[in-house]
């Protein structure tokens, strides 16, 4: 089932009349189906983050339509957008973005608290997920007391707890060592399989990208190529490297 549809999205930065305008995205169109795990790759400045921000409704496209469940997100006002973000979108950031004045538990239930849930409902939801993500022992700790991997799991937990339609992950492995990075990718795969979560992940990392089912490559604000995972992970990995080297990107 199609969950998200992007039609001819463009994003122009700078004053429209001045010559200093900068085209970050050019006429991008694609669809995401429920349960997909999609990667977005591209060089720095190719427009990945702009795209993610637009999908996360943090930023607005200059032209084009962006539909989620058939509803045009661009028509929503500021407060409706905030509500849309709580209900439909889960974010996982590179630098975790947990609030250091709150315990992990408080951080994780924050989106539910924003939705106005009752305390006992929130705790039920929390333990359901925290067990799967093996966070139960550190729930009462503060962010500066736990490891990077635990932080990233807590961030994932926070993104998941509202059962969002789409999870947007911005370089989630960027700050982790390879072991924690692999753990997180396994976790995302697990979330994708177990909770049927739709995930869109922006990454530089070819290894991370090889966990996805489909990869979109972006160059100069346009979709340059798409790759689908086959049966062999090795083969998929190699073909990603191939596209990346053609792109002149940062393939390892």
């Amino acid at each position: 089932m199609q969950i998200l549809k992007v039609e001819n999205i463009s994003k122009i930065y700078g004053n429209k009349k001045s010559s200093r305008q900068y085209l970050a995205l050019k006429n991008i169109s694609f669809e995401i189906k429920e349960g997909e795990f999609i990667g977005v790759m591209g060089a720095s400045g190719s427009g990945k983050t702009t795209l993610l921000n637009i999908l996360g409704s943090i930023d607005k496209p200059t032209t084009g339509r962006y539909l989620m469940d058939g509803k045009d997100i661009a028509t929503l006002n500021k407060n409706q957008l905030a509500e849309h973000r709580i209900n439909n979108i889960g974010f996982i950031f590179q630098d975790y973005n947990l609030i250091e004045t709150m315990t992990l538990k408080e951080n994780i239930i924050l989106p539910l608290a924003l939705k106005g849930y009752k305390a006992n409902v929130m705790e039920d939801e929390l333990y359901r997920i925290a067990q799967d993500l093996s966070l139960v022992e550190v729930l009462e700790k503060y962010p500066y007391e736990v490891s990077g991997g635990q932080l990233q799991r807590a961030a994932a937990c926070r993104a998941l707890i509202t059962k969002p339609k789409v999870i947007l992950a911005d370089e989630p492995t960027g700050n982790l060592d390879s072991k924690s990075g692999k753990d997180l990718l396994d976790l995302l795969t697990f979330i994708n399989k177990e909770f049927k979560a739709t995930i869109l992940m922006v990454t530089h990392d070819v290894f991370a990208a090889s966990y996805c089912q489909k990869i979109m490559f972006i160059r100069d604000g346009e979709i340059y190529n798409e790759l689908f995972a086959g049966n062999s992970k090795k083969k998929f990995f190699d073909s990603i490297i191939e596209v990346m080297s053609v792109l002149g990107g940062e393939g390892k």
């Binding site: 996360g56 943090i58 500021k78 407060n79 905030a82 509500e83 849309h84 973000r85 709580i86 209900n87 979108i89 974010f91 950031f93 973005n97 609030i99 250091e100 004045t101 709150m102 408080e106 239930i109 924050l110 989106p111 608290a113 924003l114 939705k115 106005g116 849930y117 009752k118 305390a119 006992n120 929130m122 705790e123 503060y142 962010p143 500066y144 926070r158």
Partner: protein
């Protein structure tokens, strides 16, 4: 780029943050200049500084203000520097030495400070006449209002030197703050924990106990207890306050956190956790501000209450516009002349005998000292004689009814202790015994005697007939009669009163004029009120802006949190509510606790001072009513600062 250019550019770019800084700097300068100019004003010098008491009061006040201004400026400067931590770290990252950064900030301080100096002195000059007029108007009974506008070079000169040295100290202290920055903080600043304080229930209880004991001692109705306990009460309450903010409040927050169904509401969750997180760094500031607000509100409430009760107090002490005894024959005509020359009508005049009696009674002891010896004499009135005087007096006393065989005892410094000892005392006259059944705290009918008795009409007549009550001394000479007078505008004309004093002094047994008493009280209390007002407004504005700066610094550090919260779906209304809830306790807790402290301080002041001054059943309520006016003013100023802070905070985190 030259460092001066950079400094000017920084000021331009940080203009919005600098505005409040600039405002408080200018206000400090204004305060200092106004005060110094007042001290130099000729009329003020004439009115006050001739008297050593007033001079030392003004000087002491000046020193307190300056010390506080310095404390305030240095600590707000340091907060301001911390709020610019990122910017400063970037300079350091690009290889600027700490010395050079210090020089840059010092230059900024001097440029802004110089502008503040000019504006502050300018505003000070503009308002100097007004301030001097206010001071003289509230302190002098007959101030005509002729003050010439003047610019005072000496005050300008001293203010400038004072502030340039304060700016230098600020520069040095800023340098110390910069030296404490670690470059690495630039990269992890947001992740460093400031150190939450878990708090402790024992210390919470202890802090409440300390403050409670202080309150208990302060509200003891016995004035000697209150006087002796003054210093211990101060220590108890101040220590309790600091303990409360450092360990008690964190514990309270922890307890709030335990109530999950309430704490997990979105606004509460964000605001409480972030406030709790800052407790350690802001606790001492809040405690200091609480103590300062308590001092300021108490000072102003005391002054205001005293001031508002001067007229009443005058008549409660003296009773009439004027009275004298002795010398009526020669004086009365001269006096009528004076009144006529001043076109002032005498509204009431009454002359009566001063009767005395020396009944036998048991020796009354207070502690070890003899309060009434057996030979003591009393001024004696019949019921009607007393009621006549009371009806003429401008005090709030009511006429009385005395039963046969009973008497009312009057003493100006009556305490509960004396009252208990006097009631039931048997007064033994030559063939009659009369018992004291009621007492009254007043001295307006004693006219030279220490204690007064009011008797039943028939008893009085019988005793007078018997020779127990006398209007003559042992050798048969009549005692001086007393004359009481009321006249028009008794508290306005200095000239009339001066002339009256002239003919009375030395020519009568004794005299009191309400005007003199009123004028003297006004000078003392007027000055106290003025100092209270001045000091309170300085404390009020500075403590409030200190909180403002601290919160701006916090906003700067919490910016990324709000960005993140918006990403996960916090809408702008919710954000406003979070910020409101986040900042509200910072302003309201010190304010409320300060006011509670002050209310108990007023209770103590009531026991020591006001209960003697305000002769109503429960003078504390009267005192509180006057104090409430000042508490409200304080609340309004804090409210305004709260809203300014909220708006600025919202702007920063946006």
């Amino acid at each position: 780029m030259k460092i001066t250019t950079l400094a000017i550019r920084n000021i331009k770019q940080n203009f919005k943050k600098y505005i409040m800084y600039f405002f408080s700097l200018s206000f400090s300068v204004f305060t200092a200049y106004s005060f110094l100019a007042l001290m130099q004003n000729e009329l003020v010098i004439m009115a006050f500084t001739s008297d050593v008491r007033y001079k030392s009061m003004l000087m002491g006040f000046g020193i307190i203000i300056m010390v506080f201004v310095m404390f305030f400026l240095i600590s707000s400067n340091n907060s301001f520097i911390k709020a610019r931590k990122k910017e400063i770290s970037i300079y350091a990252l690009f290889g600027m030495t700490n010395g050079k950064i210090g020089k840059l900030l010092f230059l900024e301080t001097i440029i802004v400070g110089f502008a503040a100096l000019v504006i502050g002195i300018g505003v000070g000059i503009f308002f100097s006449k007004l301030l001097a007029m206010i001071l003289l108007d509230i302190s002098l009974a007959s101030f005509t209002g002729n003050i010439t506008f003047s610019i005072d070079p000496k005050a300008i000169y001293i203010t400038a030197i004072l502030f340039i040295s304060i700016f230098s100290v600020m520069g040095l202290s800023g340098l110390r703050v910069i030296n404490k920055f670690e470059l690495v903080d630039l990269f992890k600043a947001d992740k460093v924990s400031e150190g939450k304080s878990a708090g402790s229930s024992i210390l919470l209880l202890l802090s409440l106990l300390l403050m409670g004991t202080g309150y208990y001692l302060a509200s003891s109705g016995e004035s000697h207890v209150v006087v002796y306990a003054l210093i211990p009460v101060l220590i108890l309450v101040i220590v309790g306050t600091y303990l409360f903010f450092r360990s008690g409040l964190p514990k309270v927050l922890n307890l709030i956190k335990r109530n999950k169904s309430n704490y997990y509401k979105s606004v509460n969750l964000i605001a409480t956790s972030s406030f709790a997180h800052r407790m350690k760094s802001i606790g001492s500031v809040m405690a200091t501000i609480t103590v300062l607000s308590a001092v300021a509100t108490t000072a102003i409430a005391t002054g205001f209450t005293l001031y508002k009760n001067i007229e009443k107090n005058t008549y409660d002490t003296i009773g009439y516009d004027m009275y004298f005894y002795g010398g009526q024959e020669e004086l009365l005509d001269k006096m009528y002349n004076i009144f006529e020359n001043h076109h002032t009508e005498i509204t009431e005049e009454y002359t009566t005998d001063r009767y005395q009696a020396t009944p036998e009674l048991k020796t009354v002891k207070l502690g070890d000292t003899e309060f009434i010896s057996s030979e003591a004499y009393f001024r004696v009135y019949s019921e009607s004689g007393y009621n006549k005087l009371i009806s003429l007096s401008k005090s709030t006393l009511k006429p009385v009814r005395i039963n046969h065989g009973e008497a009312m005892y009057e003493y100006p410094y009556l305490t509960e202790d004396i009252e208990n000892k006097m009631i039931g005392q048997l007064l033994t006259f030559s063939d009659q015994k009369i018992s004291i059944t009621s007492t009254l705290r007043s001295g307006i009918v004693s006219f030279g005697a220490i204690q007064t008795l009011v008797l039943n009409e028939d008893d009085f007549a019988a005793l007078l007939k018997n020779g127990d009550i006398l209007a003559t001394n042992k050798s048969g000479e009549a005692y001086d009669k007393v004359t009481v007078l009321n006249y028009e505008n008794p508290l306005q004309s200095a000239e009339l009163n001066r002339e009256l004093t002239q003919i009375l002094s030395g020519n009568v047994g004794s005299y009191r004029i309400a005007y003199s008493h009123y004028n003297e009280s006004l000078e003392t209390y007027g000055l106290v009120v003025f100092i209270g007002f001045f000091m309170s407004s300085v404390f009020m504005l500075m403590t409030a802006s200190l909180l403002y700066f601290k919160q701006l610094m916090v906003a700067e550090e919490e910016r990324h949190q709000y960005r993140m919260l918006r990403k996960i779906g916090m809408d702008s209304q919710l954000e406003q509510r979070v910020i409101a809830k986040r900042l509200f306790p910072v302003f309201v807790i010190p304010l409320l606790l300060g006011i509670i402290h002050s209310m108990f301080a007023m209770k103590a002041a009531d026991t020591i001072v006001f209960s003697n001054m305000i002769p109503v059943e429960n003078s504390y309520f009267t005192v509180l009513a006057f104090s409430a006016v000042m508490y409200t003013a304080y609340g309004i100023v804090y409210g305004i600062f709260y809203f300014i802070t909220k708006r600025q905070y919202a702007k920063i985190v946006r």
